[in-house]
Symmetry: C2
Subunit: 227 residues, 2 copies
């Protein structure tokens, strides 16, 4: 890992073209040759970058300034013209042991699979990741009357999720095995449901369920936590 603070100009050509005028920035060069150009603001996304695999060539411009040219296999090019280097250091970091995560959609699905009745009274699980021709339904359940209920789970309930569940329901309702006792209902479950998504869902007869992750986790054995 090389860290360089330099006054530089950056040009990228690839899927799009982008240009950064001359200014002072931080350049991070990782062991795999990838390069990140960071300013002192914004979020974690660099102003410009080159993803690995790529190669960095150091050279000189016609007027004698240092120039880095980073190229990827797909001919994307990042050209960094350096006017002045203010700081430079190199460090051996070794391989990172990596990140452990807990609390993403998969966990939400696991929790709801264990406690389907929190979505609707009397609901029981038939199967998780119920397969259909156009992809798996998150939860397939049965209600107190024995009717099939398809549940789509999102962390954030957007219009896309409603469309997805609609496609599933359309398909499922053509299956006589499922519709024997009546129409397959849908439940759209998310930690947060956007107003437009709610309107669209309810317009299509799909119920919305806002899920409390922490409360659900409380119902579960606390020793099962990752860390």
């Amino acid at each position: 890992m090389r860290l360089v603070v330099a006054t530089c100009q950056v040009d990228y050509a690839g899927r799009l073209s982008a240009h950064l005028p001359m200014a002072t920035r931080v350049l991070m060069i990782k062991a795999d040759g990838s390069v990140l150009v960071h300013s002192d603001g914004g979020s974690y996304k660099p102003l410009n970058w080159m993803s690995p695999p790529c190669t960095l060539r150091e050279g000189l411009t016609e007027d004698g300034r240092t120039e880095w040219v980073v190229t990827s296999k797909t001919d994307d090019t990042l050209r960094i013209t350096i006017e002045e280097i203010h700081h430079e250091s190199a460090h051996d970091l070794g391989v990172d042991p990596g990140l452990q995560k807990d609390g993403v959609e998969k966990h939400l699905q696991e929790l709801l699979a264990d406690h389907p009745a929190t979505l609707s009274d009397g609901l029981t699980l038939v199967r998780r990741e119920f397969p259909t021709a156009i992809g798996p339904v998150d939860l397939m359940c049965r209600d107190a009357e024995g009717l099939s209920v398809a549940v789509e789970i999102k962390r954030r309930g957007d219009i896309d999720g409603v469309e997805q569940l609609t496609r599933y329901l359309e398909l499922l309702n053509r299956d006589p095995l499922l519709t024997g006792k009546g129409t397959v209902r849908g439940i759209f479950a998310a930690q947060e449901i956007k107003p437009q998504a709610r309107v669209l869902a309810e317009d299509r007869g799909i119920a919305c369920a806002v899920v409390d992750y922490d409360a659900l986790r409380g119902l579960d054995d606390p020793t099962e936590r990752l860390f």
Copy 2:
């Protein structure tokens, strides 16, 4: 901008929980207090981070190690426990002049608005960003027979785009002013169309058009380029 290379452990609690075991990493602290934790691999995304607005407090753990606690307004917390600092430096970068881009969907839309006939013979533009109750149609056109044609433009033609155009067509076909001469057709235009999207579109009677950005740009005045 502060750059620190340190052996550290990182814990994040917010929308999810995440944990990084003790290892040597680069910590980037931006002027706005945001923090990025980078390893010597991966892509431009940090292993962990805190986005602004946030505040960093430096303290000591019970066993006397340095600890940084970064908290956001929404109570997200990033806790960095430092075992050893290998390098530290601070730099004044100033405000970055910012990025100029060229070649995104907006340009594609402009180019197709200038050359609608490349989508379908005899097509002429009625209006860009044609307003409807559920959002603007990218291009509203008329074909040689005087029938209305709605065009949805994407860089990458995904199933979502077909759904979007379908919603527009549903609405537009309820408007007697547009349907006077016949049904409003749809054209789904993209630089690349995914197989599933193509199948769905054609099943719904929506034509697909693969767009060659470079060729279109060639039709245009080359002096209009940004840089």
